[in-house]
């Protein structure tokens, strides 16, 4: 190492310093690399080393880190709506991949903090003064560039949040007069977000924007090198010092603090991977925190005034900042200091105020918080399902679309909750708009059936209470049965018998497996089946006994097959034929038609699996 950096004056000719490493000498002969290193590290700092310079150096290293981690992520990432989320999840499954993605995610945010700090330092030290105006302008032009760089990166994970962000951003672009709508079309790749959108964003994120940024940055750094680092207007008499090691050590310490924070966040928290994009998932998109100020600004300008927030104010701020050196020239030293400090206070203060008020608004919005919590649950579930089964061919959105636990409640709320509730013992769940049919929570289980066979409940709101069947044969039969009991003992005995019947029916539904029952329970099960065969087959069919037509079939009662029949067409002979049916609609009465059913075949299966609580559950942690 020591041969790399020898203390020789910068302007010395490419020296043939003898070295222990002959091949390094050979390399130096051909490239004069030692001269290059000396130029960088043996530079004189007229105002001495400064912590402030380290911010810019750190910013530069963050860009390098983004490029390196970005390249590594590129080895796996696959940009299309069908594969984006799946490939990012695939990266996340590898511990190193998750760490690299985390670094990429958090270093991007660190860049914005550093960018802001750099801007403020340059303003306060008046480092933009002649001859460094072009350093200032190129630096400012990096703001929209870096923002675009980040904006095109966030949706790449193919998450619902990212996709709705880009949807909104497309609309913002469209507010620009004349060219806006065209640009929006080009960015989205058509009229709707789709496969092409992600490919376009990917091209911008890893192709065009890095190329532009490199060009701009190269110019910026060349100008910095040409005119040297500016220590600012305060020309205290400091002894000039070399860059190495006084400034380098400061840079490394600042870098360590920033990168340390980034690494810990990447390692311990990780980059989020939100729920895969699916238009069915409602969410109110928010931009990343560094864009919240612009988001908040749009609250104040609606309709035709929107362009003020999306274009005019941001452009005005940028143009004003660009003209700061010109204004500064016209000021006296005193006024200039006041001017620069007020620009910082206004700029930074305005930015913080907008950002914080947007955050506060969301924090107070309970509905928004609840929807965010729900989305987090969904994303965890999608990740669990992808871990367990891989991602289906249709893409990651199918993970939740084919998941009974996710789709079931939505289908129920849309199609069934007009009449049925689905609430557990504690009243949690989906409450019917107007409860006019039995509560279907745990339908067909021992507990549910035992409740139906209970004279105190059968005509109550949880069961037949709000239907015509409250006065029907079934309710009548249960009431008569219990009314005929003359003593409390007899009633207890009847209740025990009904429990055996409930066990037998839960067995029909498949909730009770014979192999899992002990001897006592098996006896009870047989007793229950016996009871059905004696007291219920007058009206019901049960396996080979009884007839259809007067009451629902109890064979396979509550099983997936029974439910499929009942929900598809309750007016069928097996269920509620003729005028037995009160109001239960037929949801899939044309099994062979592709359309025209209220529930498709897939939806029906999802709903049934959900009613039967048959879904994958994560292993309890």
């Amino acid at each position: 190492m020591s041969t790399l950096l020898t203390d020789q004056p910068v302007d010395a000719p490419p020296a043939k310093s003898p070295s222990r490493h002959a091949w390094l000498d050979w390399l130096n002969d051909r490239t004069s690399y030692r001269y290059g290193l000396r130029v960088l590290f043996q530079r004189e700092l007229p105002d001495g080393p400064k912590w402030g310079y380290s911010i810019a150096s750190c910013l530069l290293w963050m860009i390098v880190i983004q490029v390196v981690t970005g390249f590594l992520l590129m080895t796996t990432y696959s940009p299309s709506l069908a594969t984006a989320w799946a490939s990012v999840h695939f990266i996340e499954r590898d511990a190193s991949g998750a760490f690299l993605r985390g670094v990429h995610h958090y270093a991007a945010q660190a860049m914005f903090v550093l960018f802001l700090a750099h801007l403020i330092r340059v303003l306060l030290t008046a480092a933009f003064r002649a001859p460094r105006e072009l350093v200032w302008v190129t630096g400012l032009l990096m703001i929209p560039l870096v923002l675009a760089w980040a904006i095109t990166g966030n949706p790449l994970s193919g998450s619902q949040r990212g996709i709705s962000q880009i949807d909104v951003e497309g609309n913002i672009i469209a507010t620009t007069p004349i060219v806006g709508p065209l640009l929006q079309r080009i960015l989205i790749g058509g009229d709707r977000v789709g496969n092409l959108t992600l490919t376009h964003l990917y091209f911008l994120h890893v192709g065009l924007l890095p190329a532009l940024a490199t060009a701009l940055l190269t110019f910026h750094l060349w100008q910095v090198y040409r005119y040297g680092l500016s220590g600012g207007s305060t020309s205290r008499t400091t002894t000039p010092q070399k860059y190495w090691p006084q400034q380098s050590v400061r840079n490394m310490i600042v870098l360590s603090i920033v990168l340390g924070t980034v690494s810990i966040l990447a390692w311990k928290v990780g980059a989020p991977l939100e729920v895969p994009a699916d238009p069915e998932i409602e969410n109110s998109p928010r931009p990343e925190w560094y864009l919240l100020s612009l988001f908040e600004l749009r609250h104040y300008f609606n309709g035709p005034w929107e362009i003020v927030a999306t274009l005019i104010i941001p452009m005005a701020v940028l143009l004003f900042l660009i003209s700061v050196p010109r204004i500064d020239v016209a000021c006296s030293r005193r006024v200039s200091a006041v001017f620069r400090v007020s620009v910082v206070v206004l700029f930074f203060g305005g930015w913080s105020w907008l950002t914080l008020s947007s955050m506060a608004r969301d924090r107070q919005d309970e509905q928004f918080q609840a929807s965010e919590a729900h989305l987090r649950e969904l994303s965890e579930r999608a990740r669990m399902l992808a871990d367990r089964h891989g991602v289906p061919l249709e893409g990651a959105s199918a993970l939740l679309r084919n998941d009974p636990k996710t789709r079931g409640p939505r289908l129920f709320a849309r199609h069934c909750a007009n009449c049925h509730s689905h609430t557990d013992e504690s009243g949690q769940g989906i409450v019917a708009v107007e409860s006019s049919a039995p509560n279907l929570y745990g339908f067909g289980t021992r507990r549910w059936v035992a409740g139906l066979l209970d004279p105190d409940k059968i005509s109550g709101p949880e069961y037949f209470g709000n239907t015509r069947a409250a006065e029907g044969d079934m309710a009548g039969m249960i009431h008569d049965l219990f009314d005929s009991a003359s003593s409390d003992e007899e009633r207890t005995e009847l209740t025990a018998q009904m429990d055996a019947v409930a066990l037998a029916l839960a067995h029909e539904a498949g909730y009770v497996l014979v192999t899992q029952l002990d001897d006592a329970a098996q006896t009870r099960l047989n007793e229950g089946r016996e009871l059905i065969n004696t007291s219920c087959i007058d009206c019901h069919k049960f396996h080979d006994e009884g007839d259809l037509g007067s009451a629902p079939d109890l064979t396979g009662y509550g099983s997936a097959d029974w439910l499929r029949g009942m929900i598809s067409d309750p007016n069928g002979e097996r269920f509620y034929p003729d005028d037995l049916n009160d109001r239960m609609p037929a949801f899939h009465s044309q099994p062979h038609a592709a359309s025209g059913n209220m529930l498709s075949e897939d939806e029906l299966n999802l709903l049934i699996a959900w009613l039967r609580q048959e879904w994958d559950e994560a292993e309890s942690r």
């Binding site: 190492m1 880190i65 390196v68 981690t69 590594l72 080895t75 594969t83 799946a86 490939s87 999840h89 695939f90 590898d94 511990a95 190193s96 991949g97 760490f99 690299l100 670094v103 190495w244 090691p245 006084q246 380098s248 050590v249 840079n251 490394m252 310490i253 870098l255 360590s256 990168l259 690494s263 992808a386 089964h389 891989g390 991602v391 289906p392 061919l393």
Partner: protein, 176 residues
């Protein structure tokens, strides 16, 4: 150690540290692909009814299952073929019948091995490799020419299981 060399050492160490923090996971991430297999997971699959298996004569059966390609799962794909050889007819306990399962992929250059009922051999059509019905390569003396195969056919763990309908099935622990 003077102040200057301390600062130099500190700068270099920190630079090295952070390079390491990024290079180590980077290299590990790229290396992870070396061990990655587009696999179907090693699960037991029911491949044939015991009653359909003749004694002593190899039968080739298809293995179907989910194929995993990086992040995508392709359901019910053909994963390959295997030979089942039932060794004996009856035993007291049919779940104890000895059955062997061999890969149909030649260990030489991955050609598809075929069963030659006349010679009672598994033969590889590509380079005249040959195995006996135990999957072992035949010697030059037995063959009359060189046998290019480097080793025996891969074999799998087989068990006989009974389903709810009291039907006996051959289950193969296949991972590929």
């Amino acid at each position: 150690m003077n102040r200057r060399s301390f600062l130099e050492g500190l700068s270099r160490s920190l630079a090295l540290l952070w390079t390491g923090v990024l290079v180590f996971p980077g290299v590990r991430y790229v290396m992870a692909t070396i061990h990655r297999e587009n696999s179907s997971g090693g699960t037991a699959r029911r491949v044939a009814r015991l009653a359909d298996l003749p004694v002593g004569r190899p039968m080739s059966v298809a293995i179907t299952g989910n194929r995993q390609d990086a992040w995508t799962t392709y359901p019910n794909q053909s994963l390959g073929q295997i030979f089942l050889v039932r060794r004996e007819n009856n035993s007291e306990d049919p779940t104890q019948v000895q059955i062997d399962a061999y890969s149909t992929v030649c260990p030489h250059l991955k050609c598809q091995v075929q069963h030659d009922p006349a010679k009672k051999q598994f033969v590889c059509p590509c380079h005249r490799g040959a195995f006996d019905l135990e999957g072992q390569p035949l010697s030059k003396a037995q063959l009359g020419h060189d046998n290019p195969v480097p080793g025996p056919l891969e074999s799998y763990v087989v068990s006989v299981v009974e389903d709810d309908q009291q039907e006996l099935w051959v289950e193969v622990n296949y991972d590929a």
